[in-house]
């Protein structure tokens, strides 16, 4: 008798599984566990046990949760060229690796008739999975459910995985597609944002946090406008419109890297309508906060990708560079690129004429493994190039002045770009390789009045503070204060090299002559002599710096890769004690 019922019970559960499997393949795990656990039998009128009833209900809820805001909204989402929250997770993580949390969470709002309007999951899918075998926590906002708007419970789900991520030391990837705060929840929603902000800040420097903006990520008004059509009664939003600013965008801004999808994602504090109302400025969403605005002009986003599929694939590639947390070393991946590879074309890469430009990325590609360089912010402040690469399989970060753009001069934007990157790498144990070819800081009122002193100091601060292995190669120019800033020996640079083309000086030879001989009436002769004898000896080469020990060596360019990899091995166990402080006070 018992055996028979057990068998039936088993069959039932199995059939439950088969019934929903076409909607929800993950039910497999459930089927497996229950098969091992004998269930006490209490038959109901339906002929099922209680456990069967519960599980069946859960499964049907799960199936509903998978549809988010429903088929119609999914179709609308697809029509926009956007994928749903779950489809995105499918592409981000290794197949079958996703473990979901809080599938059944619903909002608890009872105002404005919201109690009758519930969507299982409440507009966000959270959980963890792996990317190429490494653990990642992820949340993916579901635009089909209440426009992905953020409610108290929605925020709580996100906070939960952020806590878990810090607990186990794994990165958090957020796939943002949200209209903003859920107006109906009022202050609860604001509190939810604040909770996330707080978690962002607390996890900053503990685990990498990556935001991928895959739809709108806006202040609240945008969402309000949509919902005013959706939920009938909310009069007088016109007044509120002017008071509600700020919001969702600050969470991505607090994370380490923000990526966007071209033409479908927007980031702004307030949408075009509010802009029109407040400043009477006509602007489209794309112009105001599209991928181009943020990757080229504002520097808010670190890169943009063509569409959802490409973006998620590139994020997978990107995550491969990062350590899982600040407890881990920079990851090492197998490479077939020989660590002793010499590249003789590097010997010729610097033009003979020192006023001629070259692309520092050519140098980078030749130094790193497999010419694989993941550039960060490639379209913003192009006079500095930053990004991740691998050397001998290990992740390194590269910072290089770009002579191709404004001679590689340091200005406000490039300093800010460089400093934030250096600080990230320092926080996560990624060695920093600096390639220097810098003529100085950019002069002029535009720069001075906008605070080049303050912003330039950020880069100086970041380099000085960093305790990860720091390897520097002076490719050509290293003039003035910019020499000091760019990971010089004086800022605890571990290994400082120069190529024979290196020039380290307070300024270029010509400028120096103009100052030194400013009182001499006929300067031509004196200048000529000075340039011939002194400058060519003293300025146009790295020897004086090497004589003072500011350079550890002057190396043949072709050997650079080999030397860097050797040095990385030496510096692997570098340990620099930190002085206790509550926190530093870097110039912001």
């Amino acid at each position: 008798m018992y055996r028979e019922t057990f068998a039936r019970n088993y069959k039932c559960i199995f059939s439950t599984f088969t019934r929903v499997s076409h909607i929800y393949p993950c039910a497999k795990s459930f089927g497996r566990i229950s098969a091992l656990t004998p269930i006490r039998i209490r038959e109901y009128a339906s002929g099922n046990t209680k456990e069967e009833e519960v599980m069946a209900r859960m499964e049907s809820m799960r199936a509903k949760a998978h549809l988010g805001g429903g088929m119609n909204r999914i179709i609308t989402q697809h029509k926009k060229g956007k994928l749903t929250a779950r489809e995105r997770i499918d592409l981000l993580l290794d197949p079958g690796s996703f473990h979901e949390y809080d599938t059944f969470v619903e909002h608890q709002c009872t105002d404005f008739g919201m109690e009758k309007n519930k969507i299982i999951g409440d507009g966000v899918v959270t959980g963890h999975g792996t990317i190429n075998g490494r653990r990642i926590f992820v949340f993916s906002q579901d635009f089909t459910a209440f426009g992905g708007s953020l409610s108290k419970m929605h925020a709580q789900k996100i906070c939960k995985i952020m806590d878990k991520a810090v607990l186990v030391g794994a990165p958090v990837v957020g796939l943002n597609d949200s209209g903003g705060a859920r107006i109906q929840e009022g202050v609860d929603s604001l509190a939810g944002y604040a909770d996330i902000f707080q978690k962002n800040v607390l996890s900053s420097g503990v685990v990498p946090q990556i935001s991928l903006i895959m739809g709108p990520c806006a202040g609240k008004i945008h969402c309000l406008l949509k919902f005013s059509k959706l939920t009938t009664a909310y009069p007088g939003y016109d007044e509120i419109k002017l008071h509600f600013v700020g919001g969702a965008v600050y969470s991505p801004a607090l994370t380490d890297f923000t990526f966007m999808v071209r033409d479908t994602s927007y980031l702004f504090v307030t949408g075009p309508d509010v802009v029109k109302a407040v400043t009477n400025e006509d602007v489209t969403q794309e112009e105001l906060g599209g991928a181009k605005a943020h990757t080229v002009k504002s520097g808010v986003a670190h890169n943009a990708f063509e569409n959802d599929i490409e973006a998620l694939q590139r994020i997978r590639d990107f995550m491969d560079f990062l350590p899982l947390s600040n407890r881990d070393q920079a990851p090492i991946r197998h490479t077939d690129d020989p660590i002793t590879r010499e590249d003789s074309s590097l010997n010729h890469i610097i033009p003979i004429d020192s006023t001629k430009a070259y692309d520092v990325r050519d140098v980078i590609m030749r130094l790193v493994d497999d010419t694989n360089f993941f550039e960060i912010m490639p379209d913003y402040a192009k006079n500095i190039v930053i990004g991740f690469a691998r050397m001998g399989g290990q992740t390194v970060s590269i910072v290089g002045n770009q002579p191709l753009v404004s001679s590689g001069v340091l200005d406000i934007n490039s300093s800010v770009k460089g400093s934030r990157f250096v600080r990230f790498c320092d926080a996560f144990n990624i060695p920093i390789i600096t390639l220097v070819d810098v003529p100085g800081f950019l002069p002029g009122t535009a720069q001075e009045h906008n605070g080049i002193i303050r912003h330039g100091a950020k880069l100086l601060y970041a380099y000085a503070e960093a305790t990860v292995p720091k390897i520097t190669i002076i490719l050509r120019k290293a003039y003035g204060g910019a020499y000091d800033v760019m990971s010089s020996k004086h800022l605890r640079g571990d290994i400082n090299y120069a190529w024979p083309t290196g020039e380290i000086a307070v300024m270029g030879a010509k400028g120096a002559v103009e100052i030194i001989f400013r009182h001499v009436e006929d300067r031509t002769q004196a200048e000529k002599e000075y340039i011939d004898k002194v400058c060519n000896y003293f300025f146009a080469n790295p020897i004086p710096a090497a004589q003072r020990g500011f350079l550890d060596d002057v190396i043949l360019p072709s050997t650079s890769r080999k030397k860097i990899i050797e040095d990385l091995a030496v510096l692997k166990r570098k340990s620099l004690p930190l002085i206790y402080k509550k926190h530093d006070n870097m110039p912001l």
Partner: protein
Amino acid sequence: MNILTARVRAVGTWFSTNSVIINQKNFAFYRPSIVHTTRYFHSSFKTYYANIQGPPQATFDKILIANRGEIAVRVIRTAKKMGIKTVAIYSDADARSLHVEMADEAVHVGPSPSNQSYLNIPNILHAIKSTGAQAVHPGYGFLSENSHFVKSLNEAGIAFIGPGESAMADLGDKIRSKIIAKQSGVNTIPGFDGVVRDTQSIGYPIMLKASAGGGGKEVVDGFKIASQESLSSFGDNRLLIERYVDNPRHIEIQVLADKFGNVLYFPERECSIQRRNQKVIEEAPSTFLDPATRKAMGEQAASLAKHVGYVSAGTVEFLVDPQRNFYFLEMNTRLQVEHPITEYITGFDLVEQMIRIAADQKLPVTQEDIKFHGWAFESRVYAEDSEKYLPSIGRLSKYIEPQSSTDKHEVRCDSGIVEGSEISIYYDPLICKLSTYGETRDEAISIMLKALDSYVIKGVTHNIPLLREVISSQRFRSGKISTKFLAEEYPGGFKGHALKDESLHELISVSAFVHAKRDLRNWSWIGEKETSNKNAPSKWDLWITINKNKDIEPINVKVEKKSMNEEEFEILIPNYPKTIISAKWPLESPLINACLRIDNQESKTLITQYVDPLPIGFRLQYAGTKFDITVHTQRQHELSQYMIEKPKQDLSKVILSPMPGSVVSVAVKVGDVIAEGTEVAVVEAMKMQNILRASRVSKVKKVNVKPGDAVAAEQHFWGPVANWGLPLAAIADAKKDPDIISPKMTT
């Protein structure tokens, strides 16, 4: 034994007479480690001639090579072999080029344009004097056929490694050379012997030629045009008219003459594969000649050389009609570009013989000793697109020459560049002369195909796709070629390899293999605690798309790892038999040497190139042509239907300044047709000059700036001001966009 000792002693004397090096390059520091094996001669022939040539005598202590690029490198190699010191000359653009690195000394002779450097006779004479060179090898082009140069060398008592002044002058003139040829019993094309004043008295079709040089103009009513062109190009408006030979082959005879009246002729070279009257592929011998014709042509060539008292190496070019009638075309009084193939099949080092002749030595062999063996091809690898033959310039970011795989030295690369070299606008866009040798024509062809497949060139557009297509074509293999080959086979220009059943299957298989290898690499973490490399996939269900938006639909491919060492994969493509692919491919390296076993049949080797990774997928070069391969996983493929194809913003239609600065010069004007890489404008910022170049072949519609204008960086052109839409503006104008505040650059 005696011979051997004599030779050793001779070598010893050459070294003991080293002259003092005056102008030793101070860039010895930068000398790259170039390992160039001497791979010139088919080994069996080398021994053969070494025996009959007898002990070598000393020639010169030091020679100057008045040329650049591959031919300078070629001459330097032979000079080194002979123990002669070499002097290179170079222009600004060539300061770090290979011929400068290889020579013992190098002298700068002027700025980059060749009329100020390599054609600058006073500077070159100065270089000869200052280095104490005893002889000058002119290579080809530049001063090689300039009798004034020869004259000034003679006056200075310097030997010219080439023909005498008068023979050069006589044969350099197309009209005079025909008269001389006729006098010496050479078949000439029936036509008008002499200068023509009008076209009334001759029938059509006819060929008009500038008397002073250049190719022919096949025109019917082009007398005036050709006359004017000739005047502007050669400073001489005399024209030559001759009957037009239909469907001809271009076959030429190499001759070698010493100063003692001995003349040798060599087996022919066929140079019929031409584009715009420029040779592209040459072979020796020709499939078309029978021994009798070969002998007749050779004897006529030798008699012409004798008649004018020709000295050194020269080439007599003939047109051969389908009935094997041959007609004298012209005589080139220099070493030909395509000389390597003659060297391959005869075992002669022509440059060495030229040097010996210039040093008053007798030819070491007689006509009876000239034998040939095997077959050789030469492909001229140019930096140009295959469709319109427009030159491409740039830096060679990756450059790997094919190697011989046996000790027969069956692959020979004559090039003057290395990885990192720049192909500049100033000179010929020739990258390399790739020659191959085989016992039979088929063998030489298959070696050539393999060499072309494994030739890695990145950074410039090149014509390997075309070369490979021609050489693998059935018509070329059958030898039924003529000078019209390219025009007939690719009437609208060559568009790239067309994938057919078998080639599609091969390309998809290699793509699947590459994806699988890369994916496995992504899982190969070292020393990670928590990670589970063991979960790495061993099966893939992929959707591969070739060249997005083209006719080929995505193809479903199932891949399975077969062996533990990740070298062997099983590939299953619908409608194709099961394929096992095993390949040696160091990850992300350019060459994939794959071995395909289809349905347990005999395996096939396949060389494919991995060009670049793409955001999703990669670019492969297969059969010479590049293909963009998109690889989607099953799930990506399912979801890709929702992705919206975006209209591409065609930025190649406008040229934007990459940085704020001022315009130094604008090199184009409205209406100009410009090639890819043509300089459009120079922008200066921070005392740094940037050359802006056209990113594709185009016609200038509008130029928005003039020298001295200030321009803003490209990012400022984004926004409501629709500057993106500017139709090929040289550079968009800052003044038209009032929002732009150009940062002041005042250092």
